[in-house]
Amino acid sequence: MTTKTWQKPLLAILLALAIVFPMVAANDYYIYVMSLAYIMAIAAVGLNLILGYTGQLNLAHAGFMAIGAYTVGILTVDYGVPYWAAFVLAGLLSAIIGFFAGLLSLRLKGHFFSIFTLCVGFMIYLIIEKWDGLTHGTVGIIDIPAPAGIGPIRFDNTWSQYYLVLFFLVLSLWLMSRIVHSLLGRAFVAIRNGEDLAETLGINLMRTKVLAFVLSTFYAGLAGALYAGFVRFIGPAMALESHTFDMIAFILVGGIGTLFGPLLGAILLTWLTQSLQFLQDYRMIVFGPLLILLVMYFPQGLIGYWRQRQVRRAAASEKDRRLQRSALSSRQEVQTNA
């Protein structure tokens, strides 16, 4: 109960910090890195829905982000479609392809599902790399236009793009918060806890899992569309499973199955990567042990650990109160008896 009362002020402070960040950042490069972290966070928030809440490890997530990015890249560069129209189509197309991929792959369970989606992801990569005529093949797509201005607001510099990305991040988290705190979110969690039990509770497994899959690919598609408009160059490598594993790392560090876990992880790991840049590939020597320690001592991630402590403390204080009350009433009984 106490967690709820200061949750809102905490969120307001975090949002204020995010808004102030560009003004205090030492240079534009920091703003650029932070924006990228936000974009990756949006994709990771989507992955967390199917992985963290529904318990299905989808390894094709980066592939769906690439579908979103390529939809924007191809439509704006080759067909002159306005950015925002392409942006909406990117989300829809990812979700539609996600629907069919989900329908097929979710017939498999557990590890088999993961292996199948690993293949789906690699197929997306191969199609992007080999289909020169549509996707520009290994060269990638360059000179993607920045998001078009809306009214008087233009998105032609790092600052304005930072706020644009922040806007979509807040929107993504808001929608995700609605989803995971609703009965629908509880149905997802029930499936993660045990598919048999969930079915016994009257949850239609296939329909519910496909819905989670489609929603997560929709997030991936929108993150990809933002990425295309922000970085303005895309290549087939973004569909590779190594990017999915990056997002999984964000989720594990921040807290699997928590709303803000993917965001915290994306920000922490992005800045850690930045600050270890001088080590080049040797930075994995630092990364690996850190991740192992984290999984050993904080298996629920940072936010998961924190939340668990909050609930335990609330339960303990409730118990204390009950004990005090019963002690008080028994003392009164003794007095009246005397």
Partner: protein, 254 residues
């Protein structure tokens, strides 16, 4: 209430349940007993829709439910518990129970996006139901504890509560007293009687014979997939085939 007609289930060359015909009466405690591997859990799996029978029919409340999916069977009013219940350990006990009433609600994804009144009413109803069943099983005091922090016996009660939250007509309990001590077993037996008083029908699988013999109105005995006897506890106790196959001399009626 629940009838099986010539129910058979084969897994490859193995016949787990062979030509079982029996019925469970309304508002009674029915028990299925038998040695390990007799096909008891398979029988539950057939009734609740996890397995499709190789042949035979299942009739629930006058309706043929053969071949329905588990979620469809659940909506008709068949609830079940498992030998072990996976709870979401990081959430409170109450939070774990709220989803139990989801099948009686109608809100969809769009209700979630637009936060409609239907969704809020549905959530309110599910929460009220969760509190009600938690009170019924006597666990209101641990409602706000993490599921990870409750005892084995409390987990069993939460499993009961989860089944009850679906508003069932019949509850199938798979070894409800497995892994709890004798004193707690008595408590769980009392809870099962309380479910009957509330108008429910119970069907349970159990190995604790003292509990079954004092609790059940009707016992069905399975051995190697076949029903070798059915009847009242007294009849079962004096049945020679049952004594040979399962009970042993200890339980033979003197």
């Amino acid at each position: 209430m629940l009838e099986a007609h010539g129910l058979t289930k084969c897994f490859g060359g193995l016949t787990a349940v062979r030509d079982v015909t029996t019925s469970f009466e309304k508002n009674r405690i029915n028990a299925i007993i038998g040695p390990n591997g007799a096909g008891k859990t398979t029988f539950f799996n057939l009734v609740s829709g996890y397995h499709k029978p190789t042949s035979g029919r299942i009739v629930f409340d006058g309706q043929d439910v053969t071949g329905l999916r588990p979620d469809q069977v659940a909506k008709l009013g068949v609830a079940r518990t498992f030998q072990s219940t996976n709870l979401f350990d990081q959430a409170t006990v109450l939070d774990n129970l709220i989803v139990g009433h989801r099948l009686r609600t109608t809100s969809t994804f769009w209700d979630v996006v637009f936060n409609t009144r239907r969704l809020r009413e549905d959530e309110h109803r599910c929460r009220a139901k969760a509190e009600e069943v938690l009170d019924f099983v006597g666990l209101s005091s641990v409602a706000h504890h993490l599921a990870a922090d409750i005892s084995q016996e409390e987990r069993k009660r939460v499993a009961f509560a989860l089944a009850l939250a679906t508003d069932p007509k019949i509850v199938l309990l798979d070894e409800p007293a497995g892994g709890v001590n004798p004193e707690e077993t008595l408590g769980l037996a009392e809870l099962i009687r309380k479910m009957i008083r509330k108008g429910l029908t119970v069907c349970l699988i159990e190995h604790k014979m003292d509990m079954i013999m004092s609790l059940a109105d009707k016992i069905v005995v399975l051995d190697h997939g076949e029903m070798i006897a059915e009847g009242t506890p007294a009849e079962i106790r004096s049945n020679q085939r049952v004594i040979e196959a399962y009970l042993g001399a200890d339980y033979a009626a003197a």
